[in-house]
Each structure stands twice: as structure tokens, then as C-alpha cells.
């Protein structure tokens, strides 16, 4: 009886070990698996721009990014600047949901002292 049990136990242990090996088990019931994550992009640090010491005489572009109600929102922002910073020039533009048109980018680079995008909903 004891001999039969010992044989059964030995066979079971052997079976489990066999499965463990084929399934990639290491010692101690542990297995090694791949990290599934891809490769993130390298980060290229970019310097922030100096801030403005005053808004008087400056030109701020408000760029409507085309999401629902962004247009009216930027209009109200523009009206607030007109009421509170009358010496600041506000230019409102629309770029739609796609990337900024090159002509608008060139215009901002040439004329703007600051730029505000809106909005992320």
C-alpha cells in the first residue's frame, strides 16, 4: 500500500515538474515573463520662455482650437481683456481641430508676445 502511494506521489511530482518546465517555471514555482511595454520616446528638455513684465503694449493671440463652444469662449476672454487690459492688443484666430496652419504659426511667431490656446473642452 505504502509503495503504491509512494509511486503515485512520485508520478504526480514528476508530472507537475514536467508541466512547470514546459511552462517556463523557475525554481520555487516562479516563472519569468516579459514586460509587455513598448518604448517611450526620448525626452528632449525645452526651456520655458521668460514671462512678460507687463501686458501693456503687448499683443496676445487667442487661438480657437475648434472644439465645441471654443469660439464663443475665446470671444468672452477677448472681451475680458478689452475691459481689464485696454492697453493690451488681443488677436483672435481659429485653427480648427487639426494642426496649426503654417501661415498662422508664422503670424504668431512674428507678431505675438504671448499665445493662449483654447480649449480642451
Amino acid at each position: 500500500m505504502k509503495l503504491r502511494m509512494a509511486v503515485v506521489v512520485a508520478l504526480c511530482v514528476g508530472l507537475v515538474c514536467g508541466i512547470a518546465v514546459t511552462q517556463g517555471y523557475a525554481q520555487g514555482g516562479k516563472i519569468t515573463v516579459y514586460n509587455p511595454l513598448g518604448t517611450p520616446p526620448p525626452i528632449e528638455m525645452k526651456a520655458m520662455a521668460p514671462r512678460l513684465n507687463t501686458l501693456d503694449g503687448k499683443t496676445i493671440y487667442l487661438v480657437n482650437t475648434g472644439f465645441p463652444n471654443s469660439g464663443p469662449f475665446m470671444q468672452v476672454v477677448g472681451e475680458w481683456f478689452a475691459a481689464n487690459y485696454p492697453k493690451t492688443k488681443i488677436e483672435i484666430r481659429s485653427q480648427g481641430m487639426s494642426n496649426m496652419p503654417p501661415a498662422l504659426k508664422e503670424e504668431i511667431g512674428k507678431n505675438a508676445d504671448a499665445v493662449l490656446f483654447g480649449l480642451g473642452h
Binding site: 513598448g38 525626452i43 512678460l52 480642451g120
Partner: protein, 451 residues
């Protein structure tokens, strides 16, 4: 803009995007960029409500008037932390993990490597067995992917990453060339948009039968191992290889979309279709193994629409036209999944070629009122026919694609334009049901190039 023109730049965002904005700013190399968060969404407010609630409102988190905060962001000198240019990198952890199976399953869940269903853990043995089905170097670049817009960074992944996703999804090794072909396009299955977009793929060619894809009853549902696990592998590759679908940073679907789990995988029923296969319309040879990617709103039963004809003898071509006109142009056009009996009805109604059917469906509506959602393209007619007419542009990415796949370049057809009309035939003959919705066909790639 801030780094290029050396001028202060800021953006108005609602607070729910804070985590995403910080993640994107970090990887863009300007973690300190000053963003102005609003009190809540602006969509749906009148200009007066915008003024009183938002512009003149007080930030409940800081106690400051919102516009005063904005002025400070434009004028307050940069802090030391904002001027810190110390190089930074994203840490994705070790290449492998060793632990008990139970603990690894927990780890994969905690790290959000899964779709919350059980996965097959990607041991070297299992991944190697998968990789044996392709001649490509496991470490070769396969694709680059972002979550669907510039709202997230672009990650890259290798052939091995796709094999890992395939193992995790429970796919059989013989499915790998299809999964690699999909991965090579760079199109995510899990778009970041708060719209909660769906993605899909049309499979053409003999490989449908070789790997046991279902194109009969229940064709686009989870009723075949190949269809289900290929779709799931695409989502898992998107989640892990492309870092997509991470709620709060790279996923913002307001309500979400259940299609993201296994996607809309369509093995075309070429044998029961009265027309040429979708891939042939995209410029490939008949019987060539091809996958064409789709993205958009998704599809649902044609019975959903008010214009559906419930009479005993409906005219299906007219119903397709009526639905097309209802949603034309739409951001993603109109995409029809016809069951074989419906396709036969349409042929019997006089449309024995898809050219004739396209012409009928997309004919200008004499009663149409102008309507064009922001960002929508003009209607373009049949997407596949358009693509076939154009010259092939190797390397073209699909809608939302981060870029083309790795070498050697598979045969690639050009993108279709959104606002198009597309047709594919699949499913069984047990009844007169069919599906329709908004899905734009994009890149088509050879599957055999990835064997």
C-alpha cells in the same frame, strides 16, 4: 510654441485633463508649462454663462479668480523648478518579471497591462513559439503608435512586443502575421478621444480559412477564436506597445466603447459576396491576404434608423442611401456591413457593380440642407475605389496612425478620406439583418509580408 518662439504660451483646459496634460508636458520636455484650468466644461454654456461662471468665476481649488491666475501665469517670473533642464526619462520598468504565476497576474492588473480579463502570461517559451510564425527579427522595429492625436506621446514597439500581446490575448501562433500586419500600421485600437471611438479591421484572402476565421453567422461578434483573439491582441498591443487606453492620461472616452475590447474584426465573406473583395477595391490581387484598418464611431443594426423600411418588401439600396444622407458627411463617413442576402437584394435592385451602387448612394440629395461638422472632410464616395484610383504611397499611416511599420515595407495602399461610403459583405444567410455606421477605411497592408 513657447520654446520655438520664446513667448509665454498657455492653454485653457478643464481639470479632468490635468493628469494627461502633465504627462504630455513631461514627455514633451516642458513639465512646468503653465496651463490654465477652468471650472468645468464650456460646451453647452451661453456667452453670458461663460462670462459669469468661468471667466469671472473663482477657482474652487485655489480660491483665486480664474483670470487673475491666468495673468500671473503670463507675468510671474519662472521658478527654479520651471527652469530645471535636468534630463528626464520615462521608466517602463525591467525587461522581465520573475514571480509566482498568481503574483504576476496581480502585477499585470495593477500595472494596467491587461484589458481586465485574464491573460496568458508571456513566458519566453510562449513568445518564442509565437515568433516562430514569422521570419522577421524579434527585435526589429514594427511600428510607432500614439493614442490618436497629439494628446499623447508616440511610443515604438518591436515584432516581439506584438508577439507578447498575441500570447497575452490567447492567440494561436498562426495568427501572428495578421497581428503583425495590423501592428505595422501604427493605428491604435484604443483612441484617446472623449468620443469613445471604435476601431476595426477587414481581413481578406485565403488566410481567413487557413486560420479559421468566422465570416458566417455572428461574423463580427466574439464567436470564433481567431477573430476574437486577433482583435484582442490589437488592443493589448495598443495598451502596452503604444501606451494607449490608460484612463486619465491616454484615454478619455466619456462613456467608453465596448468595441475596444476585441474591436470590429470583419473577415469578409468573399464567397457569398456578389462584388469583388474589399482588398481588390484597394488595389490588391484577389486571394491576396490583406488587412484594412477602420476607425470611427462604430456600427450598429440598420434597424436602428428611423428611415429603415419595415415593409414586407423593402428596397434595401434606398434604405442605405437614406441612412447615408442622414449622416453624410460625418467625421467618418458611412460604412455598411451587409449580410449576403441583403447584398443579393441590392444586386437585384439593379446594382450589380459597386460602382453603380456607390453612385446611387452618394448622389447629391436634392433636399439636403448644408451641414458640415467641424473638421469633417467632404464626402469622397467609395473609400476603397478612391484608394484604388490613387497611386500607392508606401509608408502611409492610417487614421490616427503614429507611423508606418518596420522593414521590409509591406505593400501599403493609401488612406481613404473620411466622409466616404464603404461596403463590405460578411455574415450568414439566416435572416435579413445588416449593420451600418461611421467607420473610415484607412491603411491596407499585406499580411504575407509578415510571415
Amino acid at each position: 510654441m513657447e520654446s520655438e518662439f520664446k513667448i509665454p504660451a498657455s492653454a485653457f483646459l478643464i481639470p479632468v485633463f490635468k493628469e494627461q496634460a502633465e504627462s504630455v508636458s513631461f514627455t514633451a520636455g516642458m513639465p512646468g508649462i503653465r496651463i490654465q484650468y477652468l471650472q468645468g466644461t464650456v460646451w453647452g454654456l451661453t456667452p453670458e454663462q461663460i462670462k459669469t461662471r468661468i471667466i469671472e468665476g473663482v477657482n474652487k481649488h485655489t480660491g483665486q479668480p480664474m483670470m487673475r491666475e491666468l495673468i500671473t501665469k503670463l507675468t510671474a517670473p519662472l521658478t527654479a523648478a520651471e527652469q530645471d533642464m535636468t534630463p528626464k526619462k520615462l521608466d517602463v520598468g525591467p525587461a522581465t518579471y520573475t514571480d509566482t504565476e498568481e503574483n504576476l497576474h496581480k502585477l499585470f492588473l495593477e500595472k494596467r497591462y491587461t484589458d481586465f480579463l485574464p491573460v496568458v502570461l508571456p513566458t519566453k517559451e510562449r513568445v518564442d513559439a509565437m515568433l516562430a510564425q514569422t521570419s522577421h527579427d524579434p527585435d526589429a522595429f514594427l511600428g510607432r503608435m500614439h493614442p490618436g492625436s497629439v494628446a499623447g506621446e508616440t511610443w515604438t514597439y518591436t515584432v516581439r512586443h506584438a508577439a507578447i500581446a498575441a500570447v497575452m490575448a490567447g492567440a494561436k501562433p498562426e495568427y501572428l502575421p495578421v497581428i503583425l500586419a495590423i501592428g505595422s500600421t501604427g493605428q491604435t485600437a484604443v483612441n484617446v478621444s472623449d468620443n469613445g471611438f471604435a476601431a476595426g479591421a477587414i481581413i481578406n484572402g485565403k488566410i481567413r480559412d487557413e486560420i479559421g476565421m468566422n465570416y458566417d453567422l455572428g461574423a463580427i461578434g466574439p464567436y470564433a477564436h481567431a477573430n476574437t483573439t486577433i482583435g484582442r491582441a490589437w488592443s493589448l498591443l495598443s495598451i502596452n506597445g503604444g501606451n494607449c487606453g490608460k484612463v486619465g492620461t491616454t484615454y478619455h472616452g466619456t462613456v467608453g466603447n465596448p468595441a475596444n475590447l476585441i474591436n470590429v474584426i470583419i473577415a469578409e465573406n468573399e464567397e457569398e459576396s456578389p462584388w469583388e473583395p474589399f482588398s481588390v477595391r484597394k488595389g490588391f490581387k484577389k486571394d491576396e491576404n490583406v488587412v484594412t484598418l477602420l476607425n470611427g464611431w462604430g456600427i450598429l443594426s440598420a434597424r436602428n434608423w428611423q428611415v429603415t423600411d419595415w415593409s414586407a418588401t423593402p428596397t434595401y439600396s434606398k434604405t442605405v442611401q437614406d441612412i447615408y444622407r442622414l449622416q453624410n458627411p460625418g467625421l467618418f463617413g458611412t460604412f455598411v456591413v451587409l449580410s449576403p442576402p441583403i447584398a443579393d437584394f441590392i444586386v437585384s435592385e439593379g446594382y450589380n457593380t459597386l460602382e453603380k451602387f456607390n453612385e446611387f448612394v452618394t448622389a447629391p440629395d436634392p433636399n439636403a440642407k448644408p451641414k458640415m461638422p467641424a473638421g469633417a472632410a467632404k464626402p469622397a464616395g467609395d473609400a476603397a475605389a478612391k484608394a484604388k484610383a490613387g497611386a500607392a504611397k508606401p509608408g502611409a499611416g492610417g487614421p490616427g496612425a503614429g507611423g508606418p511599420g518596420g522593414a521590409p515595407k509591406p505593400k501599403v495602399a493609401p488612406n481613404a478620406t473620411s466622409g466616404a461610403f464603404g461596403v463590405v459583405v460578411t455574415g450568414g444567410r439566416n435572416n435579413n439583418y445588416w449593420m451600418i455606421g461611421g467607420l473610415a477605411p484607412g491603411t491596407s497592408v499585406s499580411i504575407d509580408a509578415w510571415r
